[in-house]
Each structure stands twice: as C-alpha cells, then as structure tokens.
C-alpha cells in the first residue's frame, strides 16, 4: 500500500472471503506467516499457519485459551526463542524478508510487543520509556522522545509531573499504557499486543482501544484477545484459532456476521465446547 493511497475501505488489504483460511492474497502484507509450524519439544502448538497481516490495519486473533494465538504472536518477533527446546518451521516474512535472516535485535526494534501482564522495569517512568532508545543507541533529545512517546500512548498528561517516580507507582492501566509508550518509543513498524487488556477494568480498556485507533496510521497492529467484543470493536481483520490451527481469517465484519466455518460461528455465538 502506497502511503498516498487514501484509506477508504478498512478492508482494502484483507483477503476476500475465500474458503481456504488465511491464504495470502495480494502482496501488500506487512507481515506474513507462510506454512508456520511451531513445536514445544515434541508437542506441536501451531499447525501450518498461513496468514497475511495488512499494513496500517488492526488484525485481531481470537480463539479459546491454549489455541496457539499467543504462540503465533510470539513467533512474529522471535521472542518465542527465549523458551528452550522450541522449534519453528515455515516462514515469517516482514516486508517480504524472512525474519530468520534479520538480526534479531533489529527485528524486535521494528516489531514491538506489549505483553498480557504489564511489565514495566523497576526503574523510573522516564527510564522505562527511554530504555529502548538507550539500548538502540539513540542520539538526540531523550527528553523530547520520551514526551512524544508518552503523548502517543495518551499517558503524558497523567505522568508529566512525576517522570522520575517509580513506574510501580502507576495504576494497572497506566502501567500498561506505559509499556505501550515504551514500545512506541523505538518507533516500531509493527506492534504486537498479547491480550493487553486482560487485567484491566473497562475504563482502562477503552483508553487502550482508543489508543489503538490513533496508532494505526503509523503502524501495523496485531492484537491477541480473549474478548470478542474487543475484536469486533477495534479490528479490521480477525483470525480465529482453534487447537493450533487458523480456522478462518477474514474481515472482522464477515467473521462476526457471516463466518464461513461452523467452528467459528460456534465460538462467536458462545456455543463452543
């Protein structure tokens, strides 16, 4: 997608409702998984996932616990490698380039991540946001960069007077937005969010959802969520995972209103299991 092209349809880059789940259509995918398999030791957690994440869109991954959606997300920035005795087969392509060929620290700088449980470092608010800049050898005004990131994460007004206070002094929702600010500070092209609101109350959740809308002009977002209403509210495209397989992937509207697969409909309507 060229930057000048107006974003008229929210589904412009999403695959059409083809019966074959998740087959990449077109070539604009920012991030693309091709025949991805993932193993924890002998246990296969992901089966042959092929999925195209369009640029500057929000893509939601839904499915029951243990269905592999978080595992899938973690293979995208290779953070899955921190767990011993795991193995990946297949490819993940970032702008057409195999992520295994990219230096892992550079990859993670381009593909940021926010975790389920907010995990601020035991440092000051300022140092939390500045951390990614410092380790990446940022030259320039840290102060301005931190302020900019906190503003993007809609946290600036709440913390501007206590930047030197410990990050642990913030509330749960603020901590999670701090983690988003921290991830945004290095200006990632893709932002992966692993159930970012699962521990938050509805008000904090709404703040983060609003935030996602404002962010998608600047980056591509993939969000794993347990909350189907959340997927329906924020996502342009939605993928449904079940037992390590991508069952169906389409525009959010089609997934929620007219899914092609029975399993998807059962899960969406709560008849699952």
């Amino acid at each position: 997608m060229s930057p000048n092209e107006p974003m008229i349809m929210s589904t412009a880059n999403l695959p059409s409702a083809s019966p074959a789940a998740g087959k990449p259509v077109g070539h604009q995918g920012k991030l693309r998984a091709v025949n991805l398999n993932f193993f924890y030791g002998a246990y296969q957690a992901l089966h042959d996932i092929t999925l195209d994440v369009p640029a500057n869109k929000i893509t939601a991954l839904i499915g029951p616990s243990g269905c592999g959606k978080s595992t899938f997300l973690r293979t995208l920035n290779r953070i899955s490698e921190t767990i011993r005795n795991t193995r990946v087969e297949g490819q993940v392509l970032l702008d057409g380039e195999d992520v295994m060929q990219v230096d892992v620290t550079l990859l993670r700088r381009r593909v940021g991540m926010v975790f389920q449980k907010s995990n601020p470092f035991p440092k000051s608010i300022f140092d939390n946001v500045a951390y990614g800049l410092k380790v990446n050898g940022f030259r320039g005004s840290l102060k301005d960069a931190v302020e900019h990131s906190l503003k993007r994460a809609a946290l600036w007004e709440e913390v501007k007077d206590k930047l030197q206070k410990s990050a642990y002094a913030l509330s749960g929702g603020q901590q999670q937005r701090l983690c988003i600010a921290r991830a945004l500070a290095v200006d990632p092209e893709v932002l992966l969010l692993d159930e970012p609101c699962s521990a938050l109350d509805p008000i904090a959740t709404a703040k983060i959802e609003d935030l996602l809308f404002t962010l998608k002009d600047q980056c591509t977002i993939v969000i794993v969520t347990h909350n189907m209403q959340q997927a329906a509210r924020v996502a342009d495209g939605t993928g449904f995972f079940l037992l390590g397989k991508l069952i169906e992937y389409n525009t959010t509207e089609i997934i929620f209103k007219n899914p092609a697969r029975q399993e998807t409909e059962d899960y969406i309507t709560g008849r699952f299991g």
């Binding site: 920035n77 953070i79 921190t82 011993r84 620290t105 550079l106 990859l107 993670r108 700088r109 940021g112 991540m113 975790f115 449980k117 995990n119 601020p120 470092f121 035991p122 440092k123 951390y131 990614g132 410092k134 380790v135 990446n136 410990s166 642990y168 983690c179 921290r182 991830a183 290095v186």
Partner: protein, 281 residues
Amino acid sequence: MTLRNRWRKTLSYCMLSLTGVCAVVAVSLLFLILGILVYNGWRSLDWNFFTKLPKPPGENGGGMVNAIVGSLEIVLLATMMGLPVGFMAGVYLSEFGGKTFGFLVRYMADLLNGVPSIVIGIFVWTVVVTRFHFSAIAGGVALALILIPITARSTEQFMSSVPQTLREGALALGASKWKTIATVVVPAAYRGIATGMILGVARISGETAPLLFTSLNNQFWGGGLTDQTASLPVMVYSHALSPYDDWHRQAWAAGLVLLLGVLLANVAARLILSRGIALQK
C-alpha cells in the same frame, strides 16, 4: 469422651510448650554467646587493642592492630578473587546454564559449599603454600574458595527470581541478551545479590581453619601480602590456647570484635534486603 478430650488438650499444651521452650533456647544461644563475649572481652577493648601490636608473653597490655588489619587484608583479597568469579558463575547459572552443564555446576557448587573448611585449608597449603610461603595471599585464596560457591548460588537464586516477563520486555525492545541481563535483570536483583555477597563475606571473615595452614599468624607487622599474616580468628585460637591470663583476656576481646563485625554485616544485609522489598512493592 471428656477424658479423651482432656488428654488431647494436655498433649496439645505439652507440645506447644515444648516447641516454645526450644524456640527460646535457639534464640537465647546467640545472646548467651554475645553475653559471655561481652562479659569477658569488653574490659580489654581499649584504645590499645586497636592501635598496638601484641606484647611478648609475660608482658601485659598490647593490642591486635596487626590482626585487625591482617584480617581486613585477607578478607579483601578473598573478596576481590571470590566475588567476581562467584557472581559471574551465578549469572551464568541463572541466565545461560544448559540443562546438563547447569545441573553439574550447581551440584558441584553445592558440594564445594559442604566441603569442611579445614580441607580447603589443607588443599591451599598443598597447592600454594608448599610452593611459595605462608602468606596473606594464600589465606585469601583459601577464603575465596569458600566464598565462590556461596556467591554463585545466592546470585543465581536472586537472578532467577526476577520475573521472565521483565526479560521479555527488554528483549522485545531490541536489547541483546547481554544488555538485558546487565541493564534489567541485575539491577532488578541487585539488592538480593548484594545481600548474598555481604552474608558470604561475613561468613568467611570468621573462618579459622583455612587460615591456620595458609596465612598462619604473626606477632608483628608482616612483610606484606607475601608474608605470613596475623588475623583475628587465628589470634583467638592461638591466644586462647596459650597459658597466659593476659592473652586469654585479649582472645576474648578479639572474639568480641569478630562477632560484632559479623553481626553488623548481617544486620546491614537484612536492612538492604528489606528496604529493597519495600521499594519494589
């Protein structure tokens, strides 16, 4: 039924009293030791004790300044050798240790921890002293051997207790593994690590047996690090075994100084740790 109940209550009461008495015994031992040391030693704790050399047998007075300085020297040497090695080994165990090799290192460290200190003394005597000389360095080596496994295991423990999510948070920002450890994991655990180190140093400060074979003792200022060197624990040993009343008095004083030093280090370590926990919440 009531008889049975009464029997139950009596038994419960007896057991409660027994555990209470044992708890009091356990706690009061420390105060008993401290009390006896203070009672016998405090009169000898004068300015001379900290500034004068020991007097020859038969002459009253004098002090143990050479043993105080010697102890500091030996412990400092051991700290400089033992802490970096133990710390790095602990980091390795916590962050890099593979399943088999990690297990092996951990197990060996625990075994080394259990080796009687006198055996370590004999070992260093064979390896270092027989080739060179009784020296402060040899004493430092012996104490370092005791310090390494203690530091390694405590460092590993505190680093392992840092949540994995913090490591992932740093890695996800493009930090290398080494950067993550140095800038997130170690800072998050440093209070615990420092506490473990202080306790380890306190532990070796009181060791006597390894020094008997290595730094030996000295009634005078020695000739530097390569000469035999006086230390407080060995002074306590030699003076307590001597037939002179004045030396006994000095031995008590030396024991008191040693114990106060170790107690102080312990209290400092606890304070650091508890403050750290309070801050993190």
